[in-house]
Subunit: 357 residues, 3 copies
């Protein structure tokens, strides 16, 4: 356990929550509602999910401010998830332990490596790599020539950082992610052969970004592919060359973004979303999972579908989609009726028996 | 060759098939229909595919029971693919060869490693890792602290197993797969910054599971992400935190499953399917490739589309989709005709020349 | 810098372009329009993008032949991207430097390795691996037994080449890609258990192919999965067992192709496209991003949608899709009006006040 037991009052103060009940209750950890035991604190984020407070075995509980009937011990907060994140981090975050450079790591020449690092066996650093303070490199990590890694960065197993790429402070990159592969850029000659365009830019990842397992971020053709501060990227995401993602974005798993797309801050892209090349998303754009976006989007736009349309329209269109076979039938029936009416109104125009209706 | 030649009668008995023709024919291997030569057995699964039995150069053939006119040598079985799988395995499966721990592997302290293992160079095991009997670890594999690996497991090159994760017996994990990366969990603070929620659970993979190349399975926030016995997962699949997949499922390539999804047994998810978080799929649910599912599904449901609807409806809706431009035209035309009819029936209501029709 | 400065006239000759202005201008590199400085050449591919030639600080510019008013120094060419690719390559391509086999690489027995190679630390070669001339293997690369690697191949960090796979000349494979993982092939027994079908084929990658980061190409069940000359594959693509991709194809990121698909030459698959198993795409087929194709496609076909339909129809259908809610309303309205008209024409048939209109 990374920290000692804490009084409930301390935890309430940490998250600026309202303490309910005994402030002296001692808490030693966090668990989810169903598995929490005495000595732990748990939480409910949404009472509608059926959690029954009287069944909980935890010593304290974090609840939304809407919960008023509770007698404690509890902490009432506006955002239980946020409070849990902060309290949980307090209990589980381990202090950095500098193990130095393992003898079985491979270090190039002219690297700059502070004393306070933890470099595992089987790590490879190229030449002129610069590491910040308290960097942790897990086994199998490859950092190529001239890359720059900030303070407090964690690169998990088998991550590759391409040459010249720049990783900010407190960045976390999960296993197998590839930062700085070549962009997918070719020019096609007269014989239909695709001639590779040199990809000479880099990837810049700013502070507090987290990047998921096996995600790929291509280097720019010229200049830089750029992920700005605080953006969180899930697993198996693809970012093409020269993409610029603003601050505090959320990119859910398997998103694919074509070259030269740019976004404002705080965009949210659902899982498996695809963005066509060269478009721009304004601040706070939200895109429903599996959508394909081919046009610029205004700040705050919520869109869905392939190609994406306003989210409200998409909800109604997709509901109507399930009724399409019925619509086809109705349309056929209406056509028949209208033809009958037309015939009925123009006696003698044809010899259809419909005239006799 | 892993095994010696076998008499056709032995092979027929192995797969509980009906022997046709000479039982003494000797078979030394399996090949597909077009490339099989003398001494080999081949198969046809579906005669409609145009295979002509008289062109086959194999010494024997496995056919469906529906094929009655064959004179042999042959084996008639209900499921040719299954028979081929079993007979082929007999010929190609090599006995395990314990090469021990290569000196260029890196082994942490307090690991439990049986004598009968095959650990390649450039493998990394953390501390307190426990391996079962006859485990094969290919180069570049990283198994982190406190992980547990069952008997007869094969981890191919560059696989990462996160700390504390548990892998059952006879599990096969292909190159580059990442088991136990952090779940994608954040709480957003008042400034719009995403605060990481600690991900303290594990991944449990049960017996006889196979996991494809570069697939990612996130650890649980609390508790475990759980893949049950016999499930087969293709390449580049994403499973979020706290997902539970039942037994004997098939997850085709590039499937993405959001956090806390649970499924019954024997579900089949087509390629590139996406499942929204927190839903449940009953036993034997089948989902068409590329679909997006946002609701619970009853056992046996077959669905397709984005969002997914019953498969039969989806087939008809998607057929109608191609006719939408025509429907738009017809609707416009009908509107025009109905307006004309209405005007014709109310003389004097307007001065439209349509009244004169 | 890989090469010395070049006279503009030389560069124009290299790309068979028309020289405009001073042929003696010396050029030392390539940069994009916004960042180019004196001594560099830049380009505009499309004047509509708003580039203003008089703002450019480069010493020369490559322009499309349509640009006639330019006074130089410039090179006019039919395809600026192609000209830039060739000129840029001239400046940035480094001559191969043979560093030999690093002592910290692991080499199996009976390998064939020329003197002129660059094998990094932490590379693993299995037994009987054959490398061509001037092969570059980055750290973490794993090449399994009996694999064959052609001349001038570059395998980036943590690439895995499965046993027996064959890689042609001048192939580039980016970090984390897996060539030769097992195909996803099972036969299901009477208990619903999936029995693994041995995957005994290989992957053959022909000359001048490029394969993106974390892309997976499965080995064939029998025979070979085959990527033909000049095809370019982006990141995170999945190719199933026995797939055959023709020459000069472009497969954009996150494409997924099921088993036994075959294609002609010069096909273009947009990002996140999925192809169902066993279909064939003719030469030059183009598939819009995110589409799902379930049928054979004639040479030159352009298709889109899920399931894919002719691209022109798809454009109109997807436009109509956004109007579906409106169509539902109009259909309802028409139904009402037609019923009214019908009632009006048959007085006494009901007592609806509609009769009085």
């Amino acid at each position: 356990m990374a920290c000692e037991k804490k009084r409930l009052a301390e935890l309430a103060a940490l998250v600026q929550g309202e303490l309910v009940g005994d402030p002296e209750v001692l808490i030693g950890g966090v668990a989810d509602f169903d598995s929490a035991v005495e000595g732990e604190i748990t939480f409910v984020a949404d009472l509608k999910r059926g959690a029954r407070l009287d069944e909980c075995k935890a010593s304290a509980i974090i609840v939304p401010t809407a919960v008023t009937e509770i007698s404690g011990p509890a902490i009432r907060v506006r955002n239980p998830y946020l409070a849990v994140a902060r309290i949980h981090a307090l209990f589980v975050e381990e202090p950095f332990v500098a193990t130095g450079i393992d003898a079985r790591a491979v270090i190039g020449h002219a690297c700059h490596i502070p004393a306070e690092v933890a470099i595992s066996p089987l790590v490879y650093l190229g030449n002129r790599v610069r590491l910040g303070q308290r960097v942790t490199l897990h086994p199998g990590v490859v950092v190529c020539d001239d890359a720059l890694i900030g303070d407090d960065v964690v690169l998990y197993a088998n991550v590759t950082i391409g040459h010249g790429c720049q990783i900010g402070n407190r960045v976390i990159i999960h296993s197998g992610a590839v930062i700085g592969s070549d962009g997918f850029g070719y020019a096609t000659d007269g014989n239909g052969h695709h001639v590779k365009r040199p990809q000479v830019g880099v990837v810049q990842v700013d502070d507090d970004v987290e990047i998921g397992a096996n995600t790929c971020i291509d280097r720019a053709t010229f200049g830089k592919t750029w992920i700005k501060r605080g953006t969180k990227i899930d697993n198996l995401v693809q970012l093409g060359h020269n993409v610029v993602i603003g601050e505090d974005a959320l990119l859910v798993a398997q998103v694919g973004i074509a070259g030269s797309v740019t976004t404002g801050n705080s965009v949210v892209l659902g899982g498996q979303v695809g963005l066509a090349g060269h478009i721009h998303l304004g601040d706070r754009v939200m895109i429903a999972a599996k959508s394909g976006v081919i046009n610029n989007q205004e700040p705050g736009a919520m869109v869905g579908g392939i190609p994406a349309i306003p989210h409200k329209t998409w909800l109604r269109s997709s509901a109507a989609y399930a009724k399409l076979p019925e619509m086809v039938r109705e349309l056929r029936e209406l056509r028949r009726k209208v033809a009958e009416l037309a015939r009925a109104m123009t006696p003698g125009a044809d010899d259809s028996p419909a005239n006799n209706e």
